[in-house]
């Protein structure tokens, strides 16, 4: 099974990257690059947009049209790119804090428009770059720098949020399931509409250290033991679902795409002139 060589997509002079030992961001980025490689997209026709955070550093390491934007606004910038250049494949690489907290509104409104973006969320349940504060995806009772006695807040189910807001594709995977992940990313890129991918990734240095999983290996084992396939999930009782999460393709319902509608509107107005 010869794999598509991804080194041509990397800015090798920028490596090794700044991420901590065992950080899952590299695994997610690897999967995204393999998906792009499999689809054989032209590097000049791909735009990678990122916001602020550990995960958003990834735009600096890949050799496409890349844009490192302001905090939470990656999807807003990406919307602009897609509307100006509908021929481009626009991929947003963002973190859970960047996407769901600071940029939460941009996320739901881009999903509502069903604009053709592929959003890959590096969901490590923590703000890693600023010292381990709790994020909107930190589960109840998890320890964080701002929740030393356990988190009191409920966590977002990001896939459910995207689906409810109108995204036409939503999927979840983990860095442990690195063979499944590029297949989902590939489907997301091929989907004409808003594609949302929630990737559970490891932050051993902040999340792991505070939650008794100080090694990357422990965090990957946690993902392995707690992820449940969508087929198995549907047969599970609520009691069994406690503490577990579902992975796989959770939602796929094609819907009219925003840039198509916009182009059609322009054509119609030109005719009527």
């Amino acid at each position: 099974m010869p794999e598509e060589d991804i080194s041509k997509y990397l800015r090798l002079d920028k490596l090794p990257h700044i991420w901590c030992p065992g950080c899952g961001n590299g695994i997610v980025l690897h999967a995204v690059l393999r998906a792009i490689g499999k689809l054989q997209l032209d590097q000049d026709k791909v735009a990678v947009v990122s916001g602020i955070g550990c995960s958003s550093r990834s735009a600096g390491y890949v050799d496409f049209n890349t844009l490192h934007t302001t905090h939470g606004r990656a999807i807003a910038f990406a919307t602009g790119i897609k509307l100006a250049r509908p021929d481009m494949t626009v991929i947003v690489l963002t973190g859970d804090g960047d996407c769901a907290a600071i940029g939460g509104n941009h996320l739901i409104h881009a999903a509502r428009r069903n604009i053709d973006l592929t959003v890959v969320v590096f969901n490590n349940s923590i703000y890693g770059m600023t010292g381990g504060q709790s994020s909107p995806t930190t589960q109840p009772d998890d320890i964080a720098a701002t929740a030393p006695y356990g988190n009191l807040e409920n966590a977002f189910d990001l896939c459910e949020l995207a689906r409810a807001s109108g995204a036409s594709y939503a999927a979840r995977s983990t860095t442990f399931h690195a063979t499944q992940l590029p297949l989902l990313v590939e489907k997301g890129i091929q989907n004409k509409g808003f594609s949302f991918l929630d990737v559970i990734t490891a932050c051993p240095v902040y999340f792991g250290r505070m939650n008794k999983m100080p090694e990357a290996v422990d965090m990957l084992k946690y993902q392995r033991d707690n992820a449940r396939n969508i087929k198995q999930w549907s047969t599970m009782t609520d009691e069994e679902k406690g503490g577990k999460f579902v992975i796989g393709e959770l939602h796929n319902k094609p819907a009219p795409e925003y840039t198509d509608l916009y182009a059609a509107l322009r054509a119609r107005l030109k005719e009527n002139k």
């Binding site: 991420w19 065992g22 590299g26 695994i27 690897h30 860095t175």
Partner: protein, 71 residues
């Protein structure tokens, strides 16, 4: 890196400049190709066990591992 005498079918290469000793390749290799050095870095101890499943390649967060058929 010393090339051990063996009948390995695949060339495994770890880029030491990129590797940060996270132990993922060592712990999750299904056939036990790697062992650990003093700092937690991988030693390619049993390359003949490699069956080219490529899990270490895709799970390496540092883009450091290459597995290719032996020429």
């Amino acid at each position: 890196m010393a090339e051990p005498e063996n009948n390995a079918k695949y060339d495994i290469e770890v880029n030491r400049k990129f590797c940060k000793n996270c132990r993922i390749c060592i712990q999750f290799c299904p056939t036990g190709v790697y062992t650990e050095d003093d700092l937690g870095g991988p030693i390619i101890k049993f390359p003949e066990k490699c069956n080219n499943c490529r899990l270490c390649v895709i799970r390496c967060p540092e883009f450091a591992i290459k597995v290719e058929p032996k020429k």
